[in-house]
């Protein structure tokens, strides 16, 4: 449900809002984004959104592999998919902490 509400909004921001900024606005946008994502609440929100997308998409890919009868055991596919989702989420968390 959350992804259904946030997903299209997020794509619209990067597809329409960011390219539509004035020529001098990206500099201000950088400062604002960095300040927002550097704050604990902003970092937590960004981490939640990114990890939600990673786990949601890898969960569906894991089941899609089983549906397509890809010759990989369900346990291995699960470890691969949820491991990738965990790793990418941790990477996002590390980069957010570094801001």
């Amino acid at each position: 449900m959350l992804l259904a509400l946030v997903g299209p909004s997020l794509v619209l921001v990067s597809l329409v809002v960011l390219p539509g900024l004035d020529a001098d606005a990206p500099a201000g946008a950088y400062q604002r984004l960095r300040a927002a994502l550097g704050s604990p609440l902003g970092a937590l929100a960004a981490f939640a959104v990114l990890s939600l997308i990673f786990f949601h998409t890898f969960h569906r890919i894991c089941h899609g592999l089983a549906d397509l009868h890809v010759p990989v055991s369900h346990r291995v596919a699960g470890w691969l998919c949820y491991g990738m989702a965990s790793g990418l989420s941790l990477l996002a968390g590390a980069w957010l902490l570094g801001l």
């Binding site: 449900m1 992804l3 259904a4 509400l5 946030v6 997903g7 299209p8 909004s9 997020l10 794509v11 619209l12 921001v13 990067s14 597809l15 329409v16 809002v17 960011l18 390219p19 539509g20 900024l21 004035d22 606005a25 990206p26 500099a27 201000g28 946008a29 950088y30 604002r32 984004l33 960095r34 994502l37 960004a46 990114l50 997308i53 990673f54 949601h56 998409t57 890898f58 569906r60 890919i61 089941h63 899609g64 549906d67 397509l68 009868h69 890809v70 990418l88 990477l91 996002a92 980069w95 957010l96 570094g98 801001l99």
Partner: protein
Amino acid sequence: MRRPWQPRQTPLWWWRHPAYRRYMLREATAVPLLLYALCLLYGLYALGRGEVAFQDWLLWMASPPLQVLQGIALLAALGHAWTWFQLLPKILVLYTPGGQVPAAWLRWGSVGLAVFCWTALPALAWHWLAGSAV
């Protein structure tokens, strides 16, 4: 002891019926969304590296191939959300003292909430990033 019967299924079972094809198409929407999320992750990395790297990421995201990817990701996200709102009344059954909340109310209520989010969040982002007071 006899082993349970396991029907054989070919890898292309989903091609046999339009409903199965729609199901697989819905599942396939995960791929462009994952690629889009990886682009965002790269943007986060660029944000940490400095302003020049962030400007480069903005230019990269505005390039035609990435615009196409974002367009496909948008269609995938919208399609997935639409099918989710069709499923919602079957999963979420709400009761009031007067009886069960009609499925159409749940369906169209969630669609209304989604349309509000899809317009309000980008509009807020626009005002905030462009420097206007919200």
